[in-house]
Symmetry: C2
Subunit: 484 residues, 2 copies
């Protein structure tokens, strides 16, 4: 395991202080132009040197006819040229003394024999000049902590704690908005493409040492260095959770992965075993991968798998109980002491089983304070799972019924949800037990948005919440085993 | 099978022309008041008669001290009273000649022995006066086609084609917003509660005959009349698909279901067999239930299970291919003819395998017209699955780059996405093959919103899309077998 990201061959890629940019122009229809515009929009602090044969200015930057003409040796070259001229540009960079590159251009190994031949030359040049390269056929890196982004779309939202190493650039660049919708963001995200030089193992090692990364996500179409992958994972897992989504396991996924990045996928069982042996948590979809990352990065480790469910609606409670059962979790048995404390809060139509179902409660505030406190104090509960509803119209109705003027209703409703979320989220900080929310509403509706902003993961639906809790439990077990 | 909804005991509940309302007042903290306000907000056209001992006006309606005083016999009584006085009110309704009721009050069988005793008296009264009743412990009915809504939250969006019979009121009332986010809505939704008189089978039969209902969704915690359920399902399925989500199958789900509505759940395998024998499609979550309903209600039946995937991003393409494989679908093998027609549209970095991956294409419009046409014409393809991306910032960037003023950018971007969605959706109408979209973006972002508004189902993620397609295929097979 790396002691510091400075030991990583990716360090000067993810933390470049200056870049040469090949393939950007003033033509908005070109991909290179888009990537340069993203880099500029991200607020990159260092120098960017566009290299262009004809233009003297590119996107308001001074352009250079040849990389040899640059006034300094930049940390990084970003290459978005037609396939046929990539290798020449790479060699020019080598001659200039540039030692790191992101090669976005495709048309190599993934398109067949001729491309494979080009990729062999590519690797020879890299080796000759000792160049550390991401790609070809990748989107490079997004490190919002350093305002670096060589991908297609500008980052949204704040930097986060999820480190991603991905064999698809889309799952870097097209996922920014998705994550920011949940208040999440990348610490650093790598798109590795064909992995001609640097691969997903190198990225994993970088992220293992990255201080901003609390949890590592891997999108895998096929691992090229199996042994190195396992060694790296084994070393990282006791310190930092790793979540993987592997698509090469079905026949259809395998073929698609090959034509995408030339990856050689293996049987699903082999990968499953590899993940289990190393303590990597396997996700079944991209969304699930980030669900797991959310729980693992935001919450403390549970002591066990006993869940107590808090709801005011029977159906969502029953669905959560069933989902927990299917995810291998247990439902807590509440003690006499807990039941005694709960009794004053639960109406006769409610239930003090587990799920604890308040039904229609007149003491709305207790749902976010007294009741979670009582349930978190229960000895037989390791995790609290809470159903959240955001009936905007009902809140408005109550406030209007209390005589509030229309214009004051919105403001007051916001205050109430903020205060509820505040009270609720305070438990996250003072309690050692994970608290997880679930809802059928959107993450930007009322209480969900407020709770998420305060660090509480709120999942879309009971099944996703239950599976995320199971991932938490699974990692806590792995960590316990490994640290003994 | 019913020939018409008029034969159903639920007809005058779901299509009531007048209501007596018990338990509403001018106190906004009472549940009855909320339900009356929902009924009013929904724009119910008929007369509503609040019954209240003390108040003479309730929510600006004339209130009556006793149901016997009402000037007419209303079609329906809605009862939201404390448990202890429910049976008396029911008897008063019977005496008045009211033959239909929704009893919202809980505290019956679901709370134990004493409640079970009350429920027996409840049933006796119902039988004595030949009353058709939904509940107790339910939320009644929402029929947006008739502006009837006895639940907690006003309906959102337009009436739709999904008929729901639910053993949880939450999955009626708390799901309005969720559905409307996808352009979906209920035709009629029933919350059945403890099923003392009418049950989920009655609702299913009503929905089977309901002309607005294209697909039936069932949320099940336990079926009380197994044989009747199977007979009804067998009769309906050849004409209308039924999707069920059953939560009683795990130990945890079973216990939760009992304390919710007193339902007796059975082993998962029994229910699974019952669903398979009758051709009901089983969903694994509430979200999946509505995903399946969306596909089944919006799309034509596929001839087989061969899917062609269209993408401009390799990772999402590979994830979809893998998801299709895991869902039991096949990937089409494209013919020489199709490949010949595709060639001019696919750049050298793209792939003409399946997924068809355009990568970075300069001819953006073709993605929504020529390419789907070519793929839909492929003999080996039964379903077209298309990845949709909504990179707002990239669209804006391109338009700005073309010299558009800032204020014109938004307008122009909307025009483009509208035109693309229009072109795309036209294929839905002229083609006999289902077209399904998937995305990692929100359903209200740019192209997704436009496509959804034009009737194209766009699912959140590749797995949900693949499973929805599998549900389509499965129903098409069932229908074929049953009609021979």
């Amino acid at each position: 395991m790396l002691k510091s990201i400075k030991e990583s061959p990716l360090h000067r890629i993810a933390n470049a202080r200056s870049m040469a940019f090949f393939g950007a122009s003033n033509n908005i229809a070109s991909m290179g132009t888009h990537l340069l515009m993203t880099a500029l929009a991200g607020g990159f602090k260092g120098k960017i040197y566009p290299v262009h044969r004809k233009e003297t200015r590119v996107q308001n930057l001074t352009a250079y006819g040849h990389v040899g003409d640059l006034p300094e040796i930049p940390d990084l070259a970003v290459i978005v040229l037609p396939t046929s001229v990539v290798n020449q540009a790479l060699e020019d960079c080598g001659k200039k003394g540039i030692r790191h590159a992101v090669v976005v251009s495709g048309g190599f190994k993934e398109v067949g024999d001729q491309g494979a031949q080009l990729e062999r030359s590519f690797k020879k040049i890299a080796s000759e000049y000792d160049m550390k390269i991401l790609g070809p056929n990748c989107l490079g890196v997004a490190n919002p902590h350093c305002n670096i982004n060589t991908t297609f779309i500008p980052d949204e939202g704040a930097p986060g704690f999820v480190g991603l190493a991905s064999q698809s650039g889309s799952f870097v660049t097209q996922i920014f908005e998705y994550l920011s919708g949940f208040g999440l963001g990348f610490s650093t995200a790598f798109s590795v493409g064909n992995e001609a030089v640097l691969d997903i193992v190198d990225c994993m090692e970088y992220l293992g040492a990255c201080p901003h990364t609390k949890v590592i996500a891997l999108y895998i179409e096929g691992i090229r260095r199996g042994r190195a992958f396992m060694e790296a994972a084994r070393a990282i897992v006791p310190h930092k959770p790793i979540v993987a989504f592997y698509v090469g396991g079905s026949k259809a996924g395998k073929a698609a992965g090959f034509s995408h990045t030339g990856a050689m996928a293996g049987p699903d069982g082999i990968y499953d075993g590899m993940f289990r042996q190393t303590g990597i948590i396997r996700a079944g979809s991209v969304e699930e991968m980030f669900d797991f990352c959310w729980a693992l990065g935001a919450l403390p480790a549970p002591r066990g798998n006993r869940v107590v469910i808090q709801t005011h609606s029977g159906g969502p409670g029953a669905a959560a109980a069933d989902a927990c059962g299917r995810a291998g979790l247990k439902l807590s048995t509440l003690s006499e002491e807990t039941l005694g404390k709960l009794a004053p809060f639960v109406p006769s139509t409610g239930s003090m089983g587990n799920p604890v179902d308040l039904t229609f409660s007149k003491n709305h505030g207790a749902f976010f304070s007294d009741i979670p406190d009582i349930l978190l104090a229960e000895e037989d509960a390791d995790v609290l799972l809470v159903y959240l509803l955001s009936p905007k119209r009902v809140v408005q109705r109550v406030l209007k019924g209390m005589g509030l003027a229309d214009e004051a209703v919105g403001e007051q409703a916001l205050k109430i949800t903020q205060s509820n979320a505040e009270q609720f989220a305070r438990r996250l900080k003072t309690q050692q037990k994970p608290i997880v929310g679930y809802t059928f509403h959107r993450s930007d509706a009322y209480i969900m948005k407020q709770a998420i902003a305060r660090g509480l993961p709120v999942f879309q639906g009971a099944e996703r919440a239950a599976r995320a809790i199971a991932a938490l439990v699974s990692y806590a077990r792995v960590k316990q085993q490994r640290s003994i």
